[in-house]
């Protein structure tokens, strides 16, 4: 298919409609408003519904209603709005309703500012609402992935009957890159459990209420089983020169892009560096970390938040390898040069001598082979 130069925020909506989404409920917020604007233009033209809700609280509950009625539905917001949606996300997870939520993150806490940050990691990845649930979280780092991962988000939401968050920073939402869409629009008939106002669906009930303690526990265990399955089947990461790397950089979203440039520069300078870019933040690609730990001497986490990704990396490595940390916040972006300096500093600390060059050992970079390009594990 032809490539189109398009903002990430617009690509999300077009991809969603192609994936069968026919309802958008949202509330404007920078830097996510283009998503609502594109939905307002294209939903009615494609037989869908667009409503600007009175608040994010109402918007997520409209998603609850749309999903209950068997319609693929989505919303988009940013930090403060996502906070307001947490109640509804918990209810949807509890009632096992699918939906897709785009979080185009900004700086916080509080009103913070509208510049790109990644401080929503905890509230999105750990499930900021009440109770025993998880949301599946996908983290695109390009406009193409905004489209591809939105499609994937709808599939995952339907497969697991659970809210799925596409978490991108303001950069990925606002920037334009060439993007290719799936060729055919998908039809999404209502699933059999939906309440659609017909004789066949009259016996159906959408509810998250289980008054009986044993029944509630069974329900939670069933949800847990679902998340366990997702952990096995859905964890994704991109490995960029990472197999056999002595230094593994870790970052997602726009940071992943910056780290690709830094990785290339570090390798050009002779360091055996690679990048592990989580594509799913939940389920976290822990197995990828475990695999790379066999050769890596150190993992360097770079994020635009206060050590939130860092916690998951440490959990994934479980003390097997040292984890070092570099971050910028408040809307500041890690600069290539400062990250590169950090990489060199850590290389001196963790790769003393750095002269070993046999395969799989850390140290100076062995000669590049063509098959070392882009080991994308999707």
């Amino acid at each position: 298919m032809r490539k189109h130069l398009m903002k990430g925020n617009e690509a999300i909506v077009k991809s969603a409609i192609l994936a069968g989404c026919r309802a958008f409920y949202g509330y404007p917020i920078t830097p996510a408003s283009e998503i609502a604007e594109a939905a307002a233009e294209f939903m009615p033209k494609t037989g869908g519904v667009y409503v600007q809700a009175e608040s994010e609280v109402a918007a997520i509950n409209m998603l609850y209603g749309a999903a209950a009625a068997g319609v693929r539905a989505m919303t988009a917001s940013s930090g403060p709005g996502i906070s307001l949606m947490q109640e509804g996300i918990s209810y949807m997870a509890g009632a096992e309703l699918p939906c897709v939520i785009a979080d185009i993150t900004r700086s916080g806490p509080g009103l913070g500012n509208i510049a790109a940050e990644q401080g929503d990691y905890h509230q999105v990845v750990k499930g900021g609402g009440h109770g025993n649930y998880r949301t599946l979280v996908l983290a695109p780092h390009s406009v193409q992935e905004m489209a591809d991962l939105t499609t994937r988000a709808f599939h995952l939401a339907a497969r697991y009957r659970n809210p799925v968050v596409v978490m991108a920073d303001g950069f990925v939402g606002q920037m334009m890159e060439p993007v290719e869409f799936q060729e055919q629009a998908v039809e999404a008939p209502p699933p059999p459990w939906a309440v659609t106002g017909t004789a066949a669906t009259r016996p159906n009930l959408i509810s998250s209420l289980h008054l009986d303690c044993d029944e509630m526990e069974r329900h939670i265990r069933a949800l847990e089983e679902k998340y366990r399955r997702a952990q096995i089947h859905e964890a994704r990461a991109e490995l960029y020169h990472a197999d056999g790397a002595g230094i593994v950089l870790v970052g997602y979203g726009i940071v992943g892009r910056i780290l690709k440039a830094v990785t290339a520069e570090a390798r050009a300078a002779g360091l055996n560096a690679g990048l592990l870019r989580p594509i799913t933040l939940y389920p976290f690609p822990a197995a990828h970390f475990q695999r790379l730990a066999a050769h890596a001497r150190v993992f360097l986490v770079v994020e635009m938040s206060n050590g939130q990704l860092l916690e998951d990396v440490r959990l994934a490595l479980n003390g097997e390898r040292p984890v070092e940390f570099f971050n910028r916040m408040g809307g500041n972006v890690p600069g290539h040069e400062e990250v590169l300096r950090f990489v060199h500093e850590q290389a001196r600390r963790h790769l003393p001598g750095s002269s070993v060059s046999e395969h799989g050992s850390p140290g100076r970079l062995p000669a590049l082979t063509p098959d070392e390009e882009h080991l994308v594990d999707v």
Partner: protein, 528 residues
Amino acid sequence: MSNEEFSECTVAFSKAKSFYARYERKDSLQHQTHYCPGCGHGIVHKMLASAIDDLGVQDRTILVGPVGCSVFTYCYFDVGNVQAAHGRAPAVATAIRRSRPEAVVISYQGDGDLAAIGSAEILHAANRGERITVIFVNNAIYSMTGGQAAPTTLLGQKTTTTPEGRCAASEGYPLRICELLSTLEAPVYIERVGLGDNRQVAQAARAIRRAVENQVRGLGFSLIEVLSPCPTIWKMTAVEAQHWVRDVMGKTFPLGVFCDRTKDRAPLPRPDPPPALDEIPRILGVADEAATGPHATSNAGAISAQGRLSAPGRGGPELRMAAGTEIDLQVRIAGFGGQGVLLLGEVLAEAGLGAGLQVSWLPSYGPEMRSGTSNCHVRLASHEIDSPLVASPSVLVAMNEPSLRKFDQSVRPGGWIIYNGDEFPADCARPDVHVLALPFTRLADELGDARASNMIMLGAVLEIAAAPPQASVDAALRRLIQRPKWIELDERALALGRKLLRESFAEGPPAAGLRRWDGVEVSNESRT
């Protein structure tokens, strides 16, 4: 009564068809509801179920249950059931009705649910004129949680959270929902009824039936508030509670019709059928055939990374790239809002895409834009672009002095600054960077419109970069700019920009040791 006489009697009261015969979703006592003796919910449930029966819409009905005593409506109503979060039933109902226009959607809510935590949702659902029916059961107290104050609690009424009685000075006044919502223009029908005596009960049944019927007829938002007894929490007998509804509650909440536009409103026309699935990519503007449309990006003049880069029909000056060179053009464009900063970048990126290059365009956004300055990062490359952030541009386009001062130090050695100004500030001069400083705004004005200054500057960038080819630029302009008058002007502006750059360069390099835009040393001998 003799046996013969008895046998001729028929049972006048039976369970409505829209109730389950047996309440199997209840854990115990499946032949009765969980409501207390004397509670109004049972009566309202029966009225609602009878209305659904009468109107023949049992299969089409979707009941949205609230949080509160009536949280278990799904145990009793044999209709489609959706249980909602506290106060959010109107939002849930909105979405169900919008996506399922054939459904009859009823939101059933108590006073804490609707008038307190859900006050925003009910207000806006009513104001949008959602085609739903709302049954609002008002018993002036939070019953399920044990008797706390509600927004509808009467002045002086004792609750567990107003132990001395509700006081206007600290808790405000009872909230009159019907009066409030009837100030809106969208609702079709709003009535307050009571369960205070048999006459009131009969009127309540009529009102509830009417509110459901309005929806079946395709009319808009209807709400029935029902003043309802709660003997348990009020600590009264059932009879006392019924009298309290009539004699005390009724004074604060007068019964009656507050809004009736049923005669003025026409039923909503049926929505158009959705487009065929095959049509969707075209509607979204992402179909393949769009490539042949009038505004499509043309791939004419597309180049491969190995191909020679030069615009058709032109000889390339020395700055042009040699055959086989990798392209990695990194441009930062900055200026005031309104100078066309973002559009300049977009035309460049779009043209790059049309020429088969990898491209990225990243704007500054938000209040920065509104406070008057704007900038964007553009990359064009013959390989995959790692980071879209341009930290060290090969070309800086500075449309004003503040932008120049902000970014001039970031330009990589051997790079270029295109500056819009009569004179390049002496303190910004760098020996290792080429400068083209001209009053582009005035030049554009002379050309026809000062707003075309961005395209003159783009012309200079294109001439420096020798990519993408002019055909791709022309196609990008036609895709991004709608008015022919502007396209014509912009084409002249681009040509002028190229000419100015060439002429400026012909006068000699600004510094010894000329470097190409991408930083590669160029010997003077190679300049012919």
